[in-house]
Amino acid sequence: MATAAVQIDAHDDHSHDHEHHHETFITKYIFSTDHKMIAKQFLLTGMFWAIIGGAMSSIFRLQLGFPDADLGWLQPLLGKWIDASGKLDPEFYLALVTMHGTIMVFFVLTAGLSGTFSNFLIPLQIGARDMASGFMNMLSYWFFFLSGVVMFISLFLETGPASGGWVVYPPLSALPQAMPGSGLGMTMWLVAMVFFIVSSLLGGINYVTTIINLRTKGMSMSKLPLTIWAFFLTAIIGILSFPVLFAAALLLVFDRSFGTSFYLSEIYIGGEALPNVGGSPILYQHLFWFLGHPEVYIVLLPALGITSEIIATNSRKPIFGYKAMIISMMGITVLSFVVWAHHMFVSGLNPFLGSIFMFLTLIIAIPSAVKVFNYLTTLWRGNIVFTPAMLFSIGLVSVFISGGITGIALGNSAIDIQLHDTYFVVAHFHLVMGSASFFGMVAGVYHWFPKMFGRMMDSKLGYIHFWFTFVGVYLVFFPMHYIGIAGFPRRYYSFTNFDAFSGFTDLNAFISVAAIVTLFAQFIFVFNFFYSMFRGRKAPANPWRSNTLEWTTPINPGHGNWPGEIPAVYRWPYDYSKPGAEEDFIPQTVPYSQTMDSNLPHENDLIELEGEIDEIVVDETGEYIEHDSH
């Protein structure tokens, strides 16, 4: 047996001092290095962007559902983008769909979801005082904020914000003269994305490092809650995929501003030949989707992790297939990098290559299905507690199944060539990635609100919010499948001009009404959120009778999370309804030696090892310095 001497710097004395530091408003609420405050900053910024992104979708749904309507009443808000006859400007319509996509994918479901819950839960659930580097964590938020400021300003430009679709394919995005939105709006989009990538990188590096180095004693990787596994893998995906978008974006900047031809070749615009030769717009698509596809899982995995935790807690049952869940997520992580070309089946891709990407894409159905079956089997015969968080988690499983099944259809290149860029695709990804991630995010807020603000959210309002949202997303996105199969293309301003698409007007109007009602239902949540923050019922220490570590902190944890020593961990986080136990949950901090009645035979053997866990001297700083004595 190899013996390794581990040098540990124990700084436990000084880390308790944090609470005594004098904090000003600025250090506490603005330039905070406390992961909990940074998480709340991400959450509030994410909510702000979600409202803007949602409002944008309502405006373009008005156009799609009621093409003849007089939108003059929107003039005070949109100004010259509504013309004299009350029509939405077609260029601005394109800007709206572009910004809706950009905002929702990056600002809401990446920064708002990962930024909030990775920051909030990683230190609390692994038993750490804070992130490895609080300063970098703060920088991560402020880069995100800066990115948001640039993007927000671009909304008010004379020529409008970027409007080439959220994927910003060249040559449309590379040539400022191609459309108004390809002017300054596009430049600002790219600048904002560069800041966003920096933010995401700073955050991701911190999350991964914290999970590796700062777990409390006893918290082995196989005792981590599934939320942490999800955040861990999400951060790894981000670290590996965002830099490629960074490279792609920089090359695009050069094409736009410095006259290079990386993505441009042989183009006539306005009857004039451009000098650019030798570039390839397909190259951009490859680089973009190398990020773009993993991005889907950056958005989705945290939501799946949150759901695992909430479903197990509220079914009062251990999660079914803990290891299978981890292996599935690892499988999804690896596969997410080798399927990008399924977005490019109609780009002239070699059909043989297409069939390889199709094969790899369909393999993703396996880990995804494993996860779904595990959720269902966890729910199966559980003592389900229908909290709002639980409802949204079950809702996530539902939309994940509905949206995932159409993914199997779309993954086939033969079918995809027919359905590419139709509303079928829009329906698919809004269910499987958009709604599922959104449900996970909202579920997380309901579940961890007591830990964030020390108060409970109102559950009646939560139920109303859930049913409006759940029914709403199906009413919005289910009919889109039919419209898509009928051949309606995405991103078209109006369908009334085409005989082929003159049908389904009523269905489009129906979708629009449902979308707007669903948007308004979200304000129930916003109200509930802010009302409960100040007036909500005071939360007990462990409101959901949960096992994980965050509920062992004080109700309003200070900087440093635990006032005394960080508790040690002896068991996995899913000991719910264990036969023989007094309560229907056993927190991770309870040693097996105290639960002799409920231990399984192999757990009795672990009691011996608990002494070893207690002996570990925790290195709370995550430092490891080798001191050479010679």
Binding site: M1, A2, T3, K223, L240, T260
Partner: protein
């Protein structure tokens, strides 16, 4: 306050409460950043490969090679200049020197890290200084190479291009810009500027960081701290930049 815990076996390093890779969080962060940065460079080098192999290649005898915007040039014919040897063909000699300088600066960085392990402040400072000098030399060489590349050779390449928004037929191209160049297709120079520039920016950042670390070390900051880990972290970055250059060198100058 340092305490020592003796742990049974390697696996139990993962049981929490300690750094399983026996590396501080700062060092891990540097590693993850480098992995990420490696993907940025991979994206750029894949772009290079994609554009280069979609451009026509020169199929004739290398002895008869002349520059043309119609096909990708032979690298040895482009990078053959050396300061003070005007008119002498010295293919890849100058870039070889640059590469040697960069690799030597990596060696001095290793020596600085090693001195840090021994808590030998004097030698840390000395080797850091040599590393900084190596970095600055590399950047200066790159500046000369760029300016030569931009100025061009004595004979022009004739092609139809757009200059200041107007088509010019049989225009005499000297040197290189981002839109067109005398050596080959537009992408040839654009990629050269972009990728060696991106790498050069990394070297520049490295030199700036090295200077900060040099002063910190000289002022005894790390001695007071009790360890020279900061040198190791910067060292990782510096070696990475060196490694990337090997790939850039292979793609641009050898293939």
């Amino acid at each position: 306050m340092a305490t020592t815990a003796t742990v049974g076996n390697e696996k139990s390093l993962w049981r929490g409460g300690m750094a399983p890779f026996k590396a501080s969080y700062g060092k891990l962060m540097m590693w993850f950043f480098l992995v990420s940065d490696a993907f940025t460079f991979s994206g750029l080098l894949i772009t290079y490969a994609f554009l280069r192999w979609s451009a026509p290649a020169y199929n004739g005898d290398p002895a008869d090679f002349v520059f043309s915007t119609e096909y990708w040039p032979i690298p040895e014919k482009v990078y053959e200049a050396f300061p003070g040897f005007h008119g002498v063909e010295l293919p890849l000699v100058f870039v070889g020197l640059m590469t040697f300088i960069l690799i030597m600066s990596s060696v001095t960085m290793v020596l600085a890290v090693e001195a840090g392990h021994r808590m030998d402040k004097k030698n840390v400072v000395k080797w850091m200084l040599w590393t900084i000098i190596g970095g600055i030399c590399f950047l200066s060489c790159q500046a000369w190479e760029w300016s030569h590349f931009i100025t061009g050779t004595d004979t022009a390449t004739v092609a139809d291009v757009v200059v200041n928004g107007r088509w010019q037929e049989n225009y005499e191209i000297f040197g290189a810009g981002l839109t067109f160049n005398q050596y080959g297709p537009p992408a040839f120079a654009a990629l050269f500027f972009f990728i060696t520039g991106f790498h050069g920016f990394h070297v520049f950042s490295g030199v700036v960081i090295n200077i900060i670390i040099f002063f910190n070390a000289a002022n005894g900051m790390y001695e007071k701290r009790g360890h020279y880990e900061m040198i190791e972290k910067t060292g990782l970055y510096w070696h990475f930049v060196d490694l990337v250059w090997v790939f850039v060198f292979t793609f641009f100058y050898l293939i």
